[in-house]
């Protein structure tokens, strides 16, 4: 695909490795002993609530901040400034030059990634077309809607044909149509062998698109692995249940960890070793049931359980 492809590992082999990366700001530890291995060609979810340490870890990968300790390897080699050109980055804090024309903006950002000027402008035109923004190519950024600006930013991330792309909260502020468009583009890029780190606090979004995930909380990684293996590690079950008259679930249900009202039905998360069938008689006694189904746990439920486990560990 490009000149530097020779250093790329095979698909599925480790592309990015973080070894005991730690970074603190004063007394606040933003990333604590982070160990990660991200294989080439996957979409890797970087999950966790706001302030968990996702952005700090990403900035360390981008060489924008220097970690206090630990090492970051790209294709087995220590990361340095020149490797940045192979990484595309869409920061959570979006930024574009408001007074610059769309085409110049994309061209400039491509040039800064080492694409020669003529080719940079050519690619800018291609990407504007792909985004359906060709008619705006000579317009200034600030004449565009927020959603269009976001699409320009997205194009700017991929314009240098990077091998690794980091997307931080990429879908924030987009309408469902555009979310779908970008999701398809992300999958297309993945099919070309691009590795994508997908950082978000919206676990439901991640669940739809990621192959592997890690969950970060309080600067530490508490879950890491492929979606399938994560689900295996958390053999939780959950039950969706609803009554015709809006009855609430009884207070003392055996084995229920969490309860949550979602779209008019209750989601009950069960602790390990508890069977949904055992709940059915109690629930049907409470009123006339209109819905009862047993589900896989959502990432949200896994996350809550994982946080509870890791906090329990700290306490004991």
């Amino acid at each position: 695909m490009n000149a530097t492809a020779s250093w790329l590992p095979e698909i599925g082999q480790p592309l990015l490795t973080l070894n005991s990366v730690t970074k603190s700001y004063g007394s606040k530890i933003a990333a604590s002993n982070v160990n990660l291995t991200i294989p080439r060609g996957c979409i890797y979810g970087f999950l966790g609530p706001n302030g968990a340490g996702k952005t700090t870890t990403i900035r360390a990968i981008m060489n924008i901040i220097l970690p206090d300790s630990g090492e970051i390897l790209l294709g087995g080699k220590p990361l340095d400034g020149t490797m940045r050109d192979r990484i595309g980055y869409l920061p959570e804090e979006r930024g574009l030059y408001r007074k610059m024309k769309c085409r110049d903006q994309l061209g400039y950002l491509a040039e800064l990634k080492g694409v020669p000027r003529g080719e940079a402008l050519e690619r800018a035109d291609q990407w504007l077309e792909r985004m359906g923004l060709s008619e705006y190519r000579l317009q200034k950024i600030d004449t565009l809607s927020k959603g269009m600006q976001q699409k320009i930013q997205f194009a700017a991330t991929f314009i240098s044909k990077p091998d690794l792309v980091i997307l931080d909260e990429v879908f924030t502020g987009l309408d469902p149509l555009n979310i779908e468009l970008l999701r398809e583009m992300i999958l297309e890029e993945k099919d070309r062998g691009v590795t994508i780190i997908f950082s978000t606090h919206m676990l439901a979004e991640a669940e739809k698109i990621c192959d592997s995930i890690c969950l970060i909380e309080g600067g530490e990684i508490i879950i890491d692995g492929s979606l399938a293996s994560v689900r295996e590690d958390f053999p939780l079950k959950s039950v969706r249940v609803a009554w015709n008259d809006g009855t609430q679930p009884p207070d003392d249900l055996p084995g229920v960890l969490h309860r949550k009202l979602e779209d008019g039905s209750w989601r009950l998360t069960l602790a390990e070793g508890h069977d949904p069938k055992g709940l059915l008689p109690i629930l049907s006694d409470a009123g006339s049931l209109t819905l009862f189904s047993a589900n896989r746990p959502s990432l949200n439920e896994i996350f809550l359980e994982a946080v509870a486990r890791s906090r329990g560990k700290v306490q004991s």
Partner: protein, 417 residues
């Protein structure tokens, strides 16, 4: 290196293509010449206005000679109006004159002492301080001449002797340099030196400030994180400063070129001809050198401060303090002109922050030893190096910093870290 060039190119073109740059380039010289012309025009303004000065002279002998003296001095617009006709006494005349001054009929009024030959006493009546210009620049010299003439006549000395005595001495000055000697018009040289210094002052402060706002803009548009994913903070800073500096140099070059062409054609402004002989190679090279070094010294400091600030407001206190480095030497200029080679002048002009203005002034009005000029350049270059390193550090620390406005203490901590 390519990336620095990309940043330079973008920053340079963005500025040079902007409307404000074109307007400033065109209007700059107009405003600059207005600065020079305004005082001249202002001093000329009002010269032709008729001024009626009330005149009370109990002895009755001074009206004619004073009128003649005023005419001789080309001050015909100042008209003497004798107040009080017939046999009214001096007191009544003065009262009448006061009334007329207060009523605005008279600009001012003067009462010549009855025994003026001996007492030399004149009382001047007026309504505002602004009339004192007429008193000091028109009436007083004329009256002095009248009195002197009266004394000469009283001693029966001839008028021709009087004229000869009053003729002032005539001086011409020759400027000596290694290249030879030449006629010198000191008023023009001094004026030119001031113009060039004003250019350095305005350009350094303006483009320094450009650097500051450009860096802050990068932060406030959140552009910086996108950029840092492609380029190191140090390279980004160097690219920005060079790009903005080149835009400044372009403007500077256009002005200097236009100025040179105009002066070659012998343009005259208000009777003062532009003198190219002042622009010796030494002065021209110093002019460009001090501008470039001055710009980079201030721009690197401004860039570092910009990286630590989130808004232009945050940066104001630092901006004011830094600008002092340029304002203080402007205030010291008269001191330097009076004794350009005194120890104080030498020491002050070697302070890197002051050098662009003070050392250049010394080069313009005097002939400082070459080693002093060279030393000031070396000191400035060294300061630029230190300031660039410090700014690079501030860039790394500050550029992603959002939140509280920085203080001098936090700035120094960040540089030391």
């Amino acid at each position: 290196m390519n990336k620095i060039y990309t940043v330079i190119r973008k920053e340079y073109l963005e500025r040079v293509r902007s409307k404000s740059f074109v307007i400033a380039t065109l209007l700059g010289p107009a405003i600059m010449s207005l600065f020079i012309l305004m005082p001249m025009l202002l001093s000329d303004a009002g010269k032709d206005d008729e001024r009626l000065v009330g005149f009370v002279d109990p002895s009755g002998q001074w009206l004619t000679p004073l009128t003649e003296a005023l005419a001789e001095q080309d001050q015909g617009n100042v008209q003497l109006v004798v107040v009080g006709e017939g046999n009214s006494g001096p007191e009544e005349r003065i009262e009448e004159m006061k009334t007329k001054i207060l009523a605005g009929e008279l600009h001012s009024g003067m009462m010549v002492d009855p025994d003026f030959m001996e007492s030399r006493q004149i009382t001047f009546y007026n309504q505002s301080v602004s009339t004192l210009v007429v008193r000091d620049e028109v009436l007083r010299p004329a009256m002095n001449q009248v009195l002197r003439q009266a004394h000469f006549r009283a001693e029966s000395l001839s008028d021709s002797l009087f004229a000869r005595i009053l003729t002032p001495t005539s001086w011409s000055s020759i400027l000596l340099s290694d290249d030879g000697e030449q006629e010198q018009d000191d008023a023009v040289s001094m004026g030119m030196a001031f113009v060039l210094i004003m250019i350095i002052y305005i350009m350094v402060i303006m483009y320094g400030n450009h650097t500051l706002t450009a860096v802050i803009e990068e932060k406030s548009t959140r552009m910086v994180e996108v950029l840092l994913a492609s380029i190191s903070p140090e390279d980004l800073m160097v690219g920005k400063i060079l790009g903005i500096g080149l835009a400044g140099l372009t403007q500077f070059g256009i002005w200097t070129g236009a100025f040179y062409v105009l002066s070659q054609r012998g343009i005259e402004i208000g009777g003062m001809s532009l003198d190219v002989t002042f622009l010796t190679p030494v002065i021209l090279i110093s002019f460009i050198g001090f501008f470039i070094l001055g710009f980079f010294l201030y721009a690197t400091m401004y860039a570092g401060i910009g990286a630590m600030c989130n808004t232009v407001q945050d940066s104001q206190q630092f901006h004011t303090t830094l600008a002092m480095g340029l304002v203080i030497p402007m205030m010291l200029l008269t001191l330097i002109i009076r004794a350009p080679d005194s120890t104080l002048a030498v020491v002050l002009s070697l302070v890197p922050l002051f050098s662009p203005i003070l050392m250049f002034m010394r080069v313009s009005v005097s002939n400082p030893p070459l080693w002093q000029v060279g030393l000031s350049w070396v000191l400035m270059a060294a300061s630029i190096w230190f300031s660039a390193r410090a700014a690079g550090k501030l860039f790394r620390v500050g550029i992603l910093m959002h939140g509280a406005a920085p203080t001098w203490a936090s700035l120094i901590r960040a540089i030391k870290a």
